[in-house]
Symmetry: C2
């Protein structure tokens, strides 16, 4: 046996901050352009979430400026949200896996409590500087710098000013310096990111001052705050044995399993508890939740599967809405055709509600400019999760895959890659199944993928009618052109063969014939031959 003591002398524990410091790419810090987009993404989604949760119409200002002397960028994001109280400020921006969203069962853009702290990490790693924060919360104004101690995943907060206010101002300003980032106007850059955010958030006003001096403003096109997503209790259908045990053992209030079930989950009435008890009759529903055992919980799960349930509450899901998407895409893409789905929420993994929203825009500014720089367009898929744009990892995303698997030919799109078409897909859910902590792609959950396909197909069918009309029209126009092209010569030849001089009369007659066959198209045809003199050629030579 070899000496292996040395191997284990290295045994260590690490903090989650150390993990993501070493694996920055998992948070989206891979490549300079992507890293800058990730920073803006994390701050802007937090701002939107905060405003909506407080029931305010978001006003967000993003300023990016280049600091030439050391090759870095300053990123400043300001919102008019509620701000963050002093007590939580350090952890919200300087500790990973801390926040208000992680355990809440409500639809929000953020759901992990990693993003903003990840940006603080990236500032420290690339410029050695903490982020500067100003928070107006309640009647306080706090100014501070925040950094992370990677070893412990604890925030370092240094308050530089703290004062009382009249409470009229509110909101958060985060301001950091970052190197190893780059601003560009590619499809992966901040510019595109903000444009896409505006598309899916017509209730927000977003202002962007770019480092190249450009100033953009996307004013809101809708004046209503979206309904506040309600935090809901889980639906029984989505529970695993472990979940039930977990909830039961952490329930300090309920004295019996029967009341625990009613208190902890949605749609569980006392009637339903009776039904469950009748099926899982070996389980003593009067015992304490803390004493529930695995085998018993397993029986409850089985019973849940046999009872009829009202579908999960869907007030936790707030889609963008058909009218909002129409306004927003209509204004930005000015397409010839635009259709938006409007479907009811579905459920995945048995209990997690979600809604898929799809819009298809055709013509106008729809589609993506072809990469070879020509004037050609190619089909574009723009993806969102809870209204936040997904820019990266398209190839590994279930949204992309579902759209690509559609047989577009059936819907009048010969080659998706070569048509001026934009497919807009948003998934709204209390828990979006991201493939990674960077939150840029959706995992392939069977029910989600199926619903995306169905929704796209539904909208595509409506587009098909439209395209069909265009094609028919084009077809008719094409055929008529061909006939007309030969009309005059044919008339001459025929007249020549029949009776000299009557060509123009013959042409007139045939024109009428065509007119009857392709009615909608007359009018703009060329005027030649109108008062034409009958010509006569011999034409004989051409015959054979």
């Amino acid at each position: 046996m070899v000496a292996t003591d040395k191997i284990f002398s290295d045994f260590q524990e690490h903090s989650v901050a150390e993990f993501f410091k070493k694996n920055k790419q998992m948070l989206g810090f891979a490549g300079k352009t992507r890293s800058l987009t990730t920073i803006v993404h994390e701050y802007v989604t937090n701002s939107l979430d905060a405003c909506e949760e407080a029931g305010m119409l978001p006003e967000i200002t993003v300023v990016i400026a280049e600091i030439e002397k050391n090759n870095s960028y300053r990123v400043r994001v300001e919102d008019n949200g509620p701000g963050i109280p002093k007590k939580h400020l350090g952890k919200a921006l300087g500790m990973m896996l801390a926040g208000t969203k992680f355990h809440r069962y409500a639809q929000q853009r953020g759901q992990q409590g990693i993003g903003a702290a990840g940006c603080t990490m990236y500032a420290q790693l690339t410029t050695g500087k903490p982020v500067r924060v100003v928070s107006h919360y309640d009647k306080k104004r706090i100014e501070c710098t925040i950094s992370i101690d990677f070893k412990t995943n604890q925030p370092n907060i240094e308050t530089s000013a703290e004062e009382d206010t009249d409470g009229s101002e509110h909101g958060l300003v985060v301001d950091g310096e970052f190197a190893d980032v780059k601003y560009d106007k590619s499809a992966y850059g901040v510019y595109e990111y903000i444009k896409r955010t505006a598309m899916a958030n017509p209730h927000a006003t977003i202002t962007f001052a770019a480092p190249d001096g450009e100033n953009l403003k996307f004013p809101r096109s809708v004046e209503e705050v979206p309904p506040k997503p309600k935090a809901v209790q889980p639906h029984p259908m989505g529970l695993s044995t472990h979940d039930i045990i977990d909830y039961a053992h952490h329930d300090a209030q309920s004295t019996r399993i029967s009341s625990f079930l009613q208190n902890s989950f949605t749609r569980v009435s006392s009637e339903k508890v009776k039904e469950l008890q009748a099926i899982a009759n070996e389980v003593d529903f009067s015992k304490k939740p803390s004493e529930l055992e695995w085998a018993e919980a397993e029986k409850i799960v089985k019973a849940i599967g046999k009872v009829k349930w009202i579908a999960p509450a869907t007030e936790s899901i707030v889609p963008i809405g058909k009218r909002q998407i129409e306004k927003s895409l209509g204004g930005i893409l000015k397409p010839q055709f635009l259709e938006v789905s409007e479907r009811s929420p579905k459920i995945y993994k048995g209990g997690i509600p979600f809604v898929i929203e799809v819009a298809i825009a055709y013509g106008g500014d729809a589609g993506r400019n072809s990469e070879n720089g020509g004037s050609g367009k190619s089909g574009d898929i723009i993806r969102y999760a809870n209204r936040a744009p997904l820019i990266f990892d398209a190839a590994g995303c279930a949204l992309t895959q579902a759209v690509k698997e559609i047989d577009w030919k059936r819907y009048g799109i010969k080659r998706f890659e070569e048509e001026p078409v934009t497919v807009f897909v948003n998934i709204a859910s209390v828990h979006v199944p991201y493939t990674g902590a960077g939150k840029q792609a959706i995992s392939d959950e069977e029910e989600v993928t199926a619903e995306i396909k169905n929704t796209v197909m539904e909208v595509a069918r409506r587009m098909q009618h439209y395209l069909h009309e265009i094609i028919k029209e084009k077809d008719r126009a094409g055929r008529r052109k061909v006939v007309e092209r030969y009309l005059k010569q044919l008339s001459i030849d025929l007249a020549d063969l029949a009776e000299k001089g009557k060509a123009s009369e013959l042409e007139e007659k045939m024109k009428k014939l065509i007119e009857n066959k392709y009615p909608s198209l007359m009018g703009e045809g060329d005027e030649e031959g109108e008062n034409g003199n009958g010509g006569n050629g011999k034409g004989e030579k051409e015959e054979r």
Copy 2:
């Protein structure tokens, strides 16, 4: 201002175990087949790492059995490695982000300290049971069960037996029960996973007892333990300002920056320190490392960029090796053509060494069976990172993308999707840039992607010569066949036109003509007309 106190009353901190419990899909627990493969993957890679680190030829046994009564599977993985000492056993299997590998700068399959603890988590979540472990380490045998406390990310270990041994036995057995998993023989299943592991680890013997009763054994085809990957110090070229600060502030031994640089990084001689000092002359190299400031470290990084360095030590990188890959793929795929690259290590992000190994196999059992069940083959890409197969997330993986972006037509492959070709790619590195904690795809690092393409093209060029010969041959055979098909009839017709009865003689003459034009192909042709009588025709009519 609305009341937002309620929002923050929810503020919580969470453990990394809770995070991955809620986001299981990020560890590869998404879908039943994939989940089972993930479990086997984590245990087998740990076993291989352990054996190699101890300098032993790995003997690994995987047993999967279905437990019908509760729809779960038992997975047992046994190895002949060094085992794990009692002190570390709980944390190694019951705590996330703990282990020996995270901070070590050496090539290993595992690098995060999450995988095995993730499997323990999955056992708990799906069956409520801890994993059972037997460890023979040194002269001890320990038998215990291990689970995770999710709230704290701390292991629960219950030892059921502990005894002294003579030390002749060594190794680890992990044995867990998992539900929400499925065994199948698809391209994503355990069967394929183990086959691919065997392909890239010809020094390991792997035995697999499948739940369908099948017993597989992949005996080693190579009797040498691969050279033990050495842990190396980082190369200066890969250091960021933050890295230097971080190393400096944690260096308790060195008394000056000059000695710190020599002690902490590879290739830094006292000569090099002098060169650096000459360039970064504002920095006081005699001060304590703990006092190094950001601006100073920044100057050192700039100086590093200006000095000429010997390339990073590459003894930390252990490729599989050309001969080993030939033996292994040759044996398993029995291809008509097989070529393996043999390139020197390259560097990414300035300082992380890696090697790309590519093999292309054509014909025989190479390629993937077409999905429509026909006998057709399609091109297959099999991916590895440090010899561990990457089975999932192919679309989002830089290895796949690099191979797909090759213009295969240039190398004689008309459509990659329709040819019996297997492209084998392995990346060996001290730090593999995975896109996620599930370690199934490689992030698109510029230098890595470029090297993959170059390596594939290098091997593809050699294949091209081979395919070119085949195509030429086929082409010749094809043309000859066409000519021959008409030969007889043509002879008859010509002869008929010229002089009756001479057809066979004419045919003979023409055959000779073809023979001269397509020499290599004669022999197997049909024998008709062999003893034909001579003919001669005028052929004039055919002229114009």
